[in-house]
């Protein structure tokens, strides 16, 4: 009923192709995040699903019906905009029931939904305010309430939290996810923030240059990034990608052959990916501290390893002087190998645990 399928969606403006032959589907009740850097075509894709943008090619199915040519209002979905798109001349209550009025819903039904939704998102007592009298978080709630009140099974969200401060963003993340699960909505959520994606999504579609780079669950995308791009996009700090060079007994770290072979592969055109949090300190290969970045719960150490700098995330406070030698090691299953040419994950990767 509320599942969405995209088949070969393309969008171009003149000569510039923004979305290139996109295929993916969303199951009913699923929380799907469209993730990617700005300009990757994720918002355009969302707008094409909403019907606000025409597709240049391809088809959009909702609940098994081809809605490609349908007007936005006939697709049975609601949307939360980055700017919230609240009507400034209407108060909170009027904003929430705006669509219901347009659709000529009875007054009793309207009031009932308003009451329910306002309680749900915590807007009681603010219903008479105009948007200009609300804080950013409150406006966000109104936008959310408006889309919930519509009672459409599908809700599209376009970077809804990007105008909020960090603390509020966290709270809203939790809240939106809880609401989605409680109401069983199908959500497609566009963001460039990997934290939002990882914490909220059932599944992530990571886009780059109008194409899907990887489509997977958060766990999968973290554990088995399909490319060096995905590897660098997910995780904080991002995964270290260490260029390897061929050595006598196997691949050696580029610029530090004296360490010896660290991987049995030949080492041609290979990138070795290791997440900072998977590197252990104490024993192993030698590196020199370049900088220390203390975060409270952990410390991010930048260290010179051969010709490159790697980052290590160590729990607690780590004391070291710049230039001091440290020793690094990682479990074999933490190593990811990528093709340095096309960036794709190599087949001879060690199995993850």
């Amino acid at each position: 009923m509320a599942d969405i399928r995209l088949e070969g969606i393309c969008k171009s403006w003149g000569d510039s192709r923004v979305v290139k032959d996109l295929h993916f589907s969303v199951k009913a009740g699923e929380f799907l995040v469209l993730l990617g850097p700005s300009g990757c075509g994720k918002s355009t894709t969302l707008r094409m699903i909403a019907g606000l943008e025409e597709v240049s090619a391809g088809r959009v199915f909702i609940g098994g019906t081809d809605v490609t040519g349908h007007a936005p209002s006939r697709r049975g979905l609601s949307m939360v905009f980055q700017s919230y798109a609240l009507f400034p001349h209407l108060n909170v209550a009027e904003n929430i029931v705006f669509g219901l009025k347009v659709r000529r819903l009875g007054r009793a039904e309207r009031d009932e939904r308003l009451k329910r939704v306002a309680a749900l998102v915590g807007l009681d007592g603010l219903l008479d305010r105009k948007p200009a009298q609300l804080s950013g978080g409150q406006r966000q709630r109104v936008a959310l309430a408006r889309s919930i009140a519509a009672e459409h099974p599908i809700c599209l969200m376009d970077e809804p939290l990007s105008n909020l401060d960090a603390k509020l963003r966290h709270d809203m993340r939790v809240e939106i996810r809880a609401l989605q699960q409680r109401l069983g909505m199908t959500v497609i959520y566009v963001t460039h923030d990997q934290v939002e994606a990882m914490s909220m999504a059932d599944r992530i579609v990571l886009m780059r240059d109008g194409r899907i780079e990887q489509e997977a669950t958060p766990e999968e995308i973290y554990a088995r990034p399909a490319s060096d791009f995905v590897a660098r996009f997910i995780g904080l700090p991002p995964m270290n990608l260490i260029r390897l060079a061929p050595g006598t007994d196997g691949a050696v770290i580029d610029g530090a052959p004296e360490i010896g072979a660290i991987h049995p592969s030949p080492g041609h055109d290979t990138l070795l990916g290791i997440r900072p949090e998977h590197i252990r300190l104490g024993q192993g290969i030698a590196a020199r501290v370049v900088a220390i970045d203390y975060h409270g719960a952990d410390t991010v150490i930048s260290a010179q390893l051969g010709a490159q700098v790697v980052q290590i995330r160590a729990p607690g406070r780590f004391h070291a002087q710049s230039g001091e030698e440290i020793r690094l090691s990682w479990p074999p299953e933490a190593a990811h190998l990528f093709d340095a040419g096309n960036g794709m994950r190599r087949a001879d990767n060690p199995r993850p645990t």
């Binding site: 606000l52 007007a71 209002s73 798109a85």
Partner: protein, 292 residues
């Protein structure tokens, strides 16, 4: 402490002094002078002007032409303001949805750029009986011509048509600016909620344009009382005051009759009327118009 406050106040006064001086010299003083002048009789070297209290006003109260002129002005305002505003809004919506059509915008704005005198001359050519464009156009359809400006029944509508033509383009600019400042996401949000074009206009666009409309309304009403240039070319207030407006009547008193006190009295009446109109517009409409 108090010394510092005094010094601060002094600095403040010094800063506004230039503005206050200019305002006082060119606005307040002339208004007061006009009010005082209106209380005197018309003088000449033989019989100097003397204080006559409110006689000038009493004379106008008994002057049927004055009431006729006032009525004309009311008709002129009622006839031009709503139509030119509506037209301005329609043109703005039309032009805005077709971005890049600079030519179209220019076409609508062109009448505004013309000086009123030039515009009036063009329209005189339209309205001239028998040889004018309008009558010739009617002639090609076999319809009889009319003496557009020479007939009290048609002279006001003729002036109003020209004024609307002249004003609408100007007001369009304000609406256009307002429309372009509006977030496209509002339209999209409304679209998703199932709003048609008309519903969107009625429920969202129109209310959001209210502050602009108020601004345009105030300007349009003031203009309806301030426009006078076209009368010099088209009718000179005739026939028999059928198209005479308050400002032209003031001109006649000041420069045709050399009765400056009478002109001053009329000016005070005009000033009061405009002030009351502007204030009431702002006071009564302001609350209903502003949404922020």
């Amino acid at each position: 402490m108090s010394k510092r406050v005094t010094k601060q106040a002094l600095t403040g006064w010094l800063l506004v002094l230039p503005a206050v001086t200019v305002l006082a010299a060119f606005t307040h003083f002339p208004i007061v002078r006009t009010m005082v002048e209106s209380l005197y009789s018309k003088g000449n070297p033989v019989r100097p002007s003397h204080f006559i209290g409110l006689d000038n006003y009493a004379n106008f109260a008994a002057d049927p032409v004055f009431w006729k002129v006032l009525g004309n002005n009311a008709i002129f305002a009622l006839g031009t303001v709503p139509v030119s505003m509506a037209l301005a809004l329609v043109m703005a919506l039309w032009v805005q949805s077709r971005s890049g059509k600079a030519v179209l915008r220019l076409a609508y704005f062109l009448p505004t750029m013309l000086p009123m005198i030039a515009a009036a001359n063009i329209w005189l050519f339209f309205y001239t009986p028998d040889i004018g464009l309008l009558d010739q156009l009617l002639g090609t359809f076999g319809l009889p011509g009319r003496n557009w400006l020479g007939d009290p029944a048609t002279v006001m509508p003729c002036l109003m048509a020209m004024t609307i033509w002249k004003e609408a383009g100007f007001f369009m600019i304000f609406y256009l600016a307002a429309l372009q400042g509006m977030s496209p996401e509002l339209r999209e949000a409304a679209l998703l909620e199932g709003c048609g074009r008309f519903t969107y206009f009625r429920r969202v666009l129109f209310p959001l344009l209210m502050p602009t409309s108020l601004f345009v309304l105030v300007n349009a009403v003031l203009n309806a009382f301030k426009l006078v240039d076209h009368l010099f070319i088209l009718t000179k207030g005739g026939p028999s005051n059928a198209s005479n407006l308050l400002l032209y009547y003031i001109y006649e008193h000041a420069f045709a009759f050399y009765d400056l006190p009478a002109a001053a009295a009329l000016t005070v009446v005009l000033l009061l009327g405009l002030a009351i109109l502007a204030i009431s517009q702002f006071v009564f409409l302001d609350k209903r118009v502003h949404y922020r």
